[in-house]
Amino acid sequence: MGRDEGPHAQVLMTAAEIAAHLLASCKSLRQFASYMFGSALSGIGQDIDILIVGPGGEALSQLKEEIQLASENLPLHVLYMQPSEARQTEFVTREKCVPLAQLASSAMP
């Protein structure tokens, strides 16, 4: 972030701010591993790609509701994986996913 991407980029949330916003808004994220990947990490992207790894069932339904509310004004594109799927596809490594907590800590003053 921080590159000159035109006047609109300056009024959009940074990757770190988005991560902090999601962690603060979606309490259920504590039960999951959560990451950001793709173009949003290096500036403005068309979408904000998020990877969520964890259990299905009720916990996942709850998390989806929280994310829906938190993304009212954000173009989130969320991929949900079971832990076995994340391992098998090696998605985190392959797509250079960054944990939301790590991103959010860089937003701290």
Binding site: E5, P7, H8, V11, I44, P75, Y80, Q82, E85, Q88
Partner: protein, 232 residues
């Protein structure tokens, strides 16, 4: 006198807030960052003008909606006469079949932001359709054993085969569809006979195939789809 505003500039404020909706901000920012042959500016509300050298200007409405039905599509057309393209900005935006039919009949292109950018570049905005599903939609319609196709949603088709069988087919565009992608398709659109992974690269995860079995649908690629239609 109309105030001059440079292209890709930020529109005026009311003194406190920018009078630009979030999805319009993203659309303008992404186009500005791309630095390609197209530039854009906000006209009013959700309406932007995309300008591309040697191509017609495109008036496009950038919608924040999660679902676009005929009511939404009609509202945008009435609000913005001269509309060339309706863009569902969210990646998870779903288009209902009646909205698609209405827009196509009225020569308004439709689809995601990527579709808009491509259409502006090649001057086809009024005839453009969602690029993620365009090729698969055509594949189905042109397949020899298919008698009729009813598009219920952008990604859900009811296919009448010449042998008399009817298949409800849901498309999954992900590179590697997960179990959640299959379950979400089922929950959001109702039962399907087939979950078709339309991305030519990658494959569904074993968990996705298992999820399909549990629900009662096959998770397939195009070659398996053809086999299934031959057998049905």
């Amino acid at each position: 006198m109309r105030r001059h505003r440079p292209r890709n500039s930020i529109p005026e404020t009311d003194g406190k807030h920018l009078l630009v909706n979030w999805q319009v901000k993203y659309a303008l920012a992404v186009l500005a960052k791309a630095g390609g042959d197209s530039t854009a500016e906000q006209v009013e509300g959700d309406l932007i003008r995309v300008v591309t050298e040697n191509q017609p200007d495109v008036l496009a409405a950038i919608s924040p909606d999660v679902k676009i039905d005929i009511v939404t599509a009609t509202r945008y057309r009435q609000q913005y006469p001269g509309l060339d393209f309706l863009c569902g900005y969210r990646a998870n935006c779903v288009w209902k079949g009646d909205a698609i039919q209405y827009l196509e009949q009225n020569r308004v292109g439709w689809g995601n932001f990527g579709t808009l950018c491509s259409a502006a570049l090649d001057g086809s905005a009024n005839n453009a359709s969602h690029k993620i599903y365009k090729f698969s939609d055509r594949l189905l319609r042109q397949y020899g054993r298919v008698e009729q196709v009813i598009r219920e949603y952008d990604r859900v088709h009811r296919v009448f085969l010449k042998g008399g069988a009817v298949l409800r087919i849901g498309m999954i565009a992900e590179y590697e569809p997960t179990a959640d992608a299959v379950r979400s398709l089922w929950e959001q659109f109702g039962p399907v006979d087939v979950a078709w992974n339309i991305n030519p690269n990658g494959n569904p995860t074993p968990e996705a195939v298992d999820a399909g079995s549990e629900l009662g649908c096959e998770v397939v690629k195009w070659d398996e789809m053809k086999d299934l239609m031959r057998r049905s």
